[in-house]
């Protein structure tokens, strides 16, 4: 049972990498990268979890009551924001690739040439 969160994270990154390796569409690859990234969410939140503890926000319950680790939650928060921005950047790159090469299949992409 105590291994389950780590196995879920490893499974997520595994299927994400498998999707990246076999993908035939750049947009699909960006989705696979997001799956890989969600493995880091599971891993970080799993590390920060504390049994029988509340949220690390001492508004309704006073400081001193058991609470989960706020550091890993803060890391997940920044992870999500940067992930959204990087996904946007990758999708924009995919848009430009399609405009210039008229394909989204990474196997058909060749090194950039100035005349292409």
């Amino acid at each position: 049972m105590s291994l389950l969160p780590w196995l879920v994270a490893a499974w997520l990154i595994g299927v994400g990498v498998a999707g990246l390796a076999t993908s035939r569409n750049i947009v699909h690859m960006v989705g696979c990268l997001s799956v890989c990234q969600s493995a880091t969410y599971v891993l970080l939140l799993g590390i920060g979890f504390r049994a029988h503890a509340g949220p690390p926000i001492f508004y309704d319950h006073p400081p001193g009551t058991p609470a989960v680790d706020p550091v890993t939650q803060a890391l997940v928060l920044t992870d999500i924001v940067v992930g959204a921005a990087v996904s946007a950047l990758l999708l924009v790159i995919a848009l430009q690739v399609f405009k210039r090469r008229h394909t989204l299949d990474p196997r058909h992409l060749r090194p950039l040439r100035p005349d292409a």
């Binding site: 105590s2 291994l3 196995l7 049994a51 926000i57 400081p63 680790d69 920044t78 924009v92 848009l95």
Partner: protein, 259 residues
């Protein structure tokens, strides 16, 4: 490399990953046990900083320098996306709507416009609430900024492109994004001028559970909210500008909201 060789390579990599993950999982702390650093934050920060949201305290105070770097990554990614999208078009924008040739453009129903206008106002207010109460209740600049930007998207959904562009002029997004990032960096550098460490909290912490608790955290939180809202709004604007196709002689009348 042939398809078969790539699969073999992938299988080898996944096998290595599986072994490594198994070893690491065994070495990690027991699931559900308390982690010392996080518990120290939970024990010390409510008294030291007067805030009740520990996640915001970690983001903007305890590990604030990390967040400055993360904010720089966000701004860099957005700037890269915007530069790629603008391409040869430059900074020129128009307020014409997206138009696919040959597809009829149905005017939006009154109900759509009404629901989206109400939803946009509620979303904007909720985003501002989340951003302003970042140091007190769940939320903060990152979440609030993202919610505000999605509220702007609801305006587009309900009223169409021209009213959206009339409501918020494009350059404002860039100013809000850059201004927020600049304010955050200034808040980080300001203590250096007084001989303190960067982002040292030199302001009064304020009352516990109060809206303005947290001292310098309030400033960085609002700066991040502005930067995130500006970034995502700028991205939405540029994606729409890029994907639309302007036909010569097209008129804007069909895109006007129903009266």
């Amino acid at each position: 490399m042939s398809e078969g060789a790539r699969r073999v390579l992938l299988a080898l990599a996944l096998a290595v990953l599986a072994v490594a993950a198994w070893r690491v999982a065994g070495a990690l702390p027991m699931f559900g046990s308390a982690t010392p650093y996080g518990q120290a934050v939970n024990a010390l920060i409510p008294d030291a900083r007067g805030v009740s949201n520990m996640v915001a305290a970690v983001n903007f105070d305890v590990r604030g320098i990390d967040t400055v770097g993360e904010e720089a990554m966000l701004v860099a990614a957005i700037v890269g996306a915007v530069v790629l999208l603008r391409g040869s078009r430059g900074e020129g924008t128009t307020d014409r709507a997206v138009r696919v040739p040959g597809r009829a453009l149905e005017p939006r129903a009154d109900a759509t416009a009404l629901v989206c206008r109400i939803g946009a106002v509620v979303t904007l207010v909720f985003g501002l609430y989340m951003a302003l109460h970042g140091t007190v209740t769940p939320g903060g600049g990152f979440q609030g900024g993202a919610v505000v930007a999605s509220g702007l998207l609801l305006v587009y959904l309900g009223d169409g492109y021209p009213p959206w562009r009339r409501l918020v002029p494009g350059p404002l997004f860039g100013v809000v994004e850059a201004g927020g990032a600049l304010a955050f960096v200034a808040a980080a550098l300001w203590p250096l001028a007084h001989g303190d460490a960067a982002l040292a909290n030199r302001l009064r912490p304020g009352e516990w559970k109060d809206l303005y608790s947290g001292g310098l955290m309030v400033v960085s939180n609002l700066a991040v909210a502005a930067a995130v809202a500006g970034s995502f709004a700028l991205l939405l604007l540029e994606v729409m500008e890029e994907t639309r196709e302007v036909q010569s002689g097209e008129d804007d009348a069909a895109e006007e909201p129903p009266q």
